[in-house]
Symmetry: C2
Subunit: 345 residues, 2 copies
């Protein structure tokens, strides 16, 4: 990785590396009683609240390509995708553990860069790193993160509570992360074919940031609390809007009508889709990695969210028998299919 100041991980050994990387951690949350340094972390759930637990594994060559993903962004994003899962339960993430396997092609300085992104995300979201594991690997980099959050039982939102005639709402806008990936893949190809011409990324900031440095919508969890809206079901968009709607439908035993004209997309994302000759709606439906929140609310809550620039009503809940349908711009219903990304295919 780095050409200069290269320190081999083997010089520190496992305990030395953990100590080096975690020595300056200051625990921020009252729920974090003891962090790194013992056989287990000690946590304390807030009085009367339940615990939310989620985990995700990111594998080099499958989930990320280090030829165009900077290690600092990778660290940040690895944390964010996990926090997003806790937000999708309408809960607040407070602790993470981070396990990393890496080959000896990574230096201590490379690990420090990865962890600087991890710590940056912890700081941004008020989350404590309380444990983990570092080990070597014979091949690529693997990052596994677990996250703990808390919420009062009555506030927790699963995927199974959607009921007929409720409204389907999404935060932010869609398709950007997918188009950011297209730009990165194109420039990588140019770079490899022309032996060293620097990639041209100017003007693509929005979609690149959506891909490389996504955010977990903890602000939406806070906003819903302020607006006094309790979603009836919720999921985060990691694999594409279509796939997530099908999950909600399946687990709530309902159908959905989704209106193509309502799907929020930023003007810049739409332009980049056009440039790549990709259908805009397809990018939003199947692109994935936007980490926006998708949820259902009672019709009676509509007035509370109406006009909020962070939230868009994109459809409504129907009977299970009608299935999940996209109502196109011309008013035609088409069956929704999950064509999102699958790490096993």
């Amino acid at each position: 990785m780095e050409k200069e100041n290269r320190t081999e991980l083997s010089e520190l050994g496992e305990f030395g590396l953990i100590k080096h990387l975690t020595d300056q951690i200051l625990l921020q949350n009252k729920t974090s009683m003891k962090g790194v340094g013992d056989d287990a972390a000690i946590l304390s759930a807030p009085e009367g609240q339940k615990i939310l637990l989620s985990t995700d594994m990111l594998v080099e060559g499958i989930h990320f390509d280090l030829s165009y993903v900077p290690l600092q962004h990778l660290g940040y994003k690895s944390v964010v995708v996990n926090l997003s899962d806790i937000c999708a339960m309408n809960a607040i993430p407070q602790q993470i553990t981070v396990s990393v396997a890496m080959s000896n092609r990574f230096s201590l300085e490379a690990m420090e860069t990865l962890y600087s992104g991890i710590f940056r995300a912890c700081e941004m979201y008020g989350v404590d790193l309380v444990g983990g594991d570092t080990t070597s690997s014979n091949s690529g980099l693997v990052i596994s993160i677990s996250v703990i959050g808390y919420a009062a039982e009555e506030k927790i939102t699963t995927r199974s509570g959607a009921r007929e005639s409720e409204l389907l709402v999404v935060s932010g806008d869609l398709g950007g992360a997918f188009l950011g990936l297209q730009v990165l893949e194109r420039e990588k190809k140019v770079f490899l074919e022309t032996q060293g011409i620097q990639p041209e990324l100017t003007g693509y900031d929005y979609v690149l940031e959506r891909q490389l440095k996504p955010e977990a919508r903890k602000d939406i969890v806070d906003l819903l609390q302020i607006l006094d809206v309790k979603p009836t079901s919720m999921i985060d968009i990691s694999d594409g809007l279509a796939s997530e709607i099908l999950h909600l439908a399946d687990q709530s035993d309902v159908g959905f009508d989704l209106y193509e004209e309502k799907i929020p997309m930023s003007p810049r994302t739409a332009e980049v889709a056009d440039e790549f000759n990709l259908i805009r709606t397809t990018c939003a439906l199947n692109g994935g990695e936007d980490y926006e929140l998708l949820f259902t609310i009672k019709q009676s809550d509509f007035d509370k969210i109406k006009g909020n620039p962070n939230l868009t009503v994109i459809g409504h809940v129907t009977h299970a028998a009608s299935g999940c349908r996209l109502i196109t711009l011309s008013g035609e219903p088409i069956a929704l299919r999950a064509q999102g990304w699958d790490p096993l295919r």
Copy 2:
């Protein structure tokens, strides 16, 4: 892996595989409110108890060698080594999440075998599998497990509570897992050199079982509760007795005198050490992977544990200035050094 009945993982895809592997899970613990199938699991800490959280990553070629470790045992051991960390806090493990990355050389049937070992461990220890992730990898198998346990705050035992003149106690016996590994490595070499002669493992059951199917000493946590003994500090032996004593010394700011004559070793382990021309004490000190519990108790608790066949007093706590010493059979003190296994070296 298998020659017959081979189903490709890609035929199921990620969601299909997770569903297939986790469909028949029945949650056993009251603290497990919701398991696999949503963005996060929902857990409920027992009234007044704190949460213990630990995580471990196992990498093919570093932590295990599939040429002699059956997948079912690997699944079992992967869970056990994590449960052991919660036991080492004097707490009871109740939930795990399991993330697995595997290349397409693994079939569905191979995954089922791995998970059958994971479920067997869950059943044996009364633990619920409540979440996880499955993904592909370009190379080997990587398993990352997180574990949650609970205990009353006053019962939780860290590494930092040892005080001068207390007794050092270990459960079970030591060195077996290391010698099991020596047997497996020797037979692998014979097998490779002689092209197919079956390995001779008869008569090595004890040390092989210690290596391939170790147990977490949850029974010792229960026993200490029954005996009304609260250890002042505790750690589990994953990297070797010497390394763990040094951790307790470092974090409690004390020294230790360890008596060579007291170190418990099973007669069969001792015989195998002799056969390999290895010094018995060295195997116990640096071998690792025995997953026994090492802890300190007040002298006044000695009568409560005296004569218990599961527990051996092997030394006592001294002043930090005297450091950690092995008192040899001939009565000579030698400085203890950690020469246990390090995945980064």
